[in-house]
Symmetry: C2
Subunit: 191 residues, 2 copies
Amino acid sequence: MALRHAILSALSRGEPRTGYELNASFRSNVDRAWQASPSQVYAELTRMEQAGYIKINERDERGRTEYVITAGGMDELRRWLVHDNVDRSIRDDAILRLLTVWVLDDETARYIIEAEIAYQRKRQMDLRRLIETWNSMREDNRVWRTRRAMHDLWLAEVNVMLRWLNGLLKSFEEPQRDIAEIFDETSLLDG
Amino acid sequence: MALRHAILSALSRGEPRTGYELNASFRSNVDRAWQASPSQVYAELTRMEQAGYIKINERDERGRTEYVITAGGMDELRRWLVHDNVDRSIRDDAILRLLTVWVLDDETARYIIEAEIAYQRKRQMDLRRLIETWNSMREDNRVWRTRRAMHDLWLAEVNVMLRWLNGLLKSFEEPQRDIAEIFDETSLLDG
DNA sequence: ATTCCCATGTAACATGTTACATGATTAA
DNA sequence: TTAATCATGTAACATGTTACATGGGAAT
């Protein structure tokens, strides 16, 4: 049911959204907390409309169907936040891979880790650019503040990840050195 | 197919494992990168054995069936690491909720954030305890170094998350203050 | 004209969850 | 001896992916 709440969360910000726009935001890699495939989103939108959580705002000559959240949808969103348990299940492919690189020879392991570094560097740049855009907009309300804050968290996480990946590279290059020492050096564990 | 690789990753460390032991590690909240339900694991183990990636090491009088990885399994694990694309799909219920707390009144939002702080504090303690255990074991090989490093990453992430959650609380308490300033103060974005 | 992006959907398939069944061993 | 934990599995159901179908509008 969490896709439902991801959609309600997006619509709760007030602006009407089409399935296509929602899909674009579910596809973005920088700015999202949930992902879904288009077919899944369209099917869920139909179900949610029938259940009364959202309603059609406008359906123009072209195929586009704009949805808005209903009072019932807002109630459901609040009920979920307060009464449903947080789902802590983890499926992190990137982490699973890094945990397994030791089965490779040094050169190949290094190649895998460097690919991850490249990915995180790109994400770091994308997030920095996004935050700058937001800063220049100078908007300020509850919605904006929370989203802005989330980008700060994501950027901080990327920074930690990059420092850690460099430590991991070092630990492969200097197999004789104490690993605790290597990560102490990156000041990864402050706070 | 990633459950398959999570199982191969666990077995690649060398020790034979039963389905039950694998399930225990998939259930643990501190030390894992992948989760799966028992029924899924048992079904996948049967398929993997038929495909020749793992084989039965021992099947004792009690129901227990111990599996070990085969050469074919190790090959498949290496092939996956080098040739398959990283799956970047994200489904983070906790983050989705934090992104949505602004729909609640201040008091309820605060309650939700504090529940998350409590969860992260517990995880912080659990990870610290685990790292201490590992330090006292004084083992050192490729497998151990990578797992040890992963715990350092997880602990660093928890530390970032806790600092951020406190900033988020502050941003609700002081709605007039600039949000960038609040998060600068937590020194979240160093590096 | 043809290719690309917009926009929504269907259908087949793969993956994952929940409830339940079974029976052994261990601890109170 | 009763409950909890060990240990594996089946079956029904829910969720998610992939390939494909459809047709309009925009750009070259």
